[in-house]
Structure formats: structure tokens, C-alpha cells
Symmetry: C2
Subunit: 145 residues, 2 copies
DNA sequence: CAAAATCCGTTTGTACACGAACAAGTCAGA
DNA sequence: TCTGACTTGTTCGTGTACAAACGGATTTTG
């Protein structure tokens, strides 16, 4: 029968207690908060834009590395940012493989206007925790990357 | 010029300090560990299969609710599990809209065989933390879902 | 200097993830 | 009883995410 398997395995594995499951749920909640508070742009796109504003002209792959997106992912993100005129690309004269990505005026303005909201989104995500717990949580979470 | 925007915003927003960014990175690392330790199935698919083994016959949407996947997502996951003969679907005679999802022998066996690995994956993900830190982290993470 | 190793950007294929809309089935309340 | 409000499963469109492969450019190294 099946219930021996079930009982045996259930002793070892409870979905609700696995880090992966909790990380997924917490991310989902965070992304919902983001979408609600900054509906005009994606979390990922805002991260890439913010990093690009911080770094200045950067090659596409380098921006991907700086934001934790692989080459295929950052390609799509950069394409969508370009389609929305938040960034532009200009060829690097030194290296013919490379294109520098640069934020447009609109991109820079969006970042300047919405950076505060970005912080507010983090605050809202962490709201269920006390200030002390938030600090602890962030410290531990940072160790898991 | 641009650097006033940049400096001003940079004071408020540092990507590396935002929860969303850290959650994304931690999830990425976890998923990489999962893929390495259980290459034959996806994290999401294993979660759905495990929950289904625990619950027994369940409708597709109900399984989605139990695993935190919306209707469109669980549809794809269930389709792939069915394509791999890990679950089957039989119509509910009481409610003609509904199909019960049920793990196959192969699905049950996979779960029984790999549940331990699931726990090991969680352990490996949390390995950078001490036992005490792990408990704290899980407790706080649970509050953020 | 030439070959090997890297890096750049791109494409293809697969898999989540969610909003929005839909048809069909079910159920509660007027 | 019938009508309106749900629920179930489905589809479509968009956006992340990664593996694997590729051609072309550049750098390293023998």
C-alpha cells in the first residue's frame, strides 16, 4: 500500500518547512508588493536600470553580472528597457563585440523619482518583522547568496 | 547633469541591500543546489508531487493552492508531471468540472526515494548558517510569507 | 606569431509565474 | 425554480530564468 511510503517520507519531508518553499513564497509576496507599489516597471527591470544608473555606461553582460542575471536573461531585460526608451546602446569603439548600455533621460528620471519607492517596497516586505528582526534577517539572508 | 540624480538616489537605494534582490539571489543559489542534487526533476514539480503524495487525490486547483501556485502555473506543472507518468488524472463523478490528480506508482516511488534528498537540499542551502542561525532564519522567513 | 582559451552578444528550448479572459459546471438565495 | 455568484480548468500574452549552442572578436599563451 501507499501509506507506508507516505508516512515514512512525511517524517522526513514537509514541504512547508523547506527553505526553498519558503523562499519562493516570500519572493511571491515581495513581487506582489512591488507590482502594487511600482506598477509601471518590473522588479527585474528596475534592478537593472538602477544598477546601470549607479555604474554608468556598462556592457550588457557586465550589467547582467552586476545584477545576478545570466546572459540570456539580461538580454531580454535590456531589450525591454530599450523598447521602453529607458536605456540606449552605443557601440564600444575599443571592442567591436561590445555595446555600452546607458540610461536615457527618461530612465534616469524614473530611477531618481522611484528609488525612494524601492526602499519603501523593501520596508513593506519586511513589515511583519520588528526592526531588530529585520536586521537579523537581512544579515542571515545575505550569507545565503 | 546626471550625477546629482545618481548621488541623491544612491543614498536611498542600493540594490545589494534590498530584500527583493537578496531573496532572488538566495533562490537562485537554492535552485542551483536543487538542480545539482536532484537533476531528474524540477523543484516545483517535486513540490507538487510531494504535496499530492501527502494529500492523496486532489483537484488541480486545490493542489495549486496547497503549493502556492496559481491556476495557470499548476496547469503547466501538472501537465509535465502527467507527461512523465508521475501522476494521473481521473474525473470526479460528483463534479463534472473536476479531475482528481493522483500520483502513479512511479510518482510515489520517486517521492519515497527522494524525500530525504529534499531535506538534504534544504540543509545544503542553509549550510552557511550555524544551527542556531538556521532556526532563526527559518522562523523569520516564515513570517514573511 | 599562431593556436587556444575567453569573452561578447545572440538564439533556441524548456520551465516557472501571473494577469486576464473564457466556457462550463455548481450552488445559494430570492 | 431560476438567476446570479462562484469555482474549475483552460488559453493567451508577457516576463523572468537557465542550459546549450553558436559566430565573431579579443586576449592569452605557447
Amino acid at each position: 500500500m501507499h501509506h507506508e511510503f507516505k508516512d515514512q517520507a512525511a517524517n522526513a519531508y514537509r514541504l512547508e518547512e523547506q527553505v526553498g518553499f519558503l523562499l519562493r513564497r516570500a519572493s511571491q509576496r515581495h513581487l506582489a508588493i512591488f507590482a502594487q507599489m511600482m506598477p509601471e516597471i518590473t522588479s527585474t527591470q528596475f534592478a537593472a536600470l538602477a544598477k546601470l544608473c549607479e555604474l554608468g555606461p556598462t556592457s550588457q553582460n557586465a550589467l547582467g553580472r552586476a545584477t545576478g542575471m545570466d546572459a540570456a536573461t539580461i538580454k531580454g531585460v535590456a531589450d525591454r528597457l530599450r523598447a521602453r526608451d529607458l536605456i540606449t546602446a552605443t557601440p564600444d569603439p575599443q571592442d567591436r563585440r561590445r555595446h555600452y548600455l546607458i540610461p536615457t533621460e527618461a530612465g534616469l528620471a524614473l530611477y531618481a523619482r522611484r528609488a525612494e519607492t524601492g526602499v519603501a517596497i523593501s520596508d513593506e516586505t519586511l513589515a511583519p518583522l520588528s526592526a531588530r528582526e529585520q536586521a537579523t534577517f537581512l544579515e542571515l539572508l545575505r550569507k545565503l547568496c
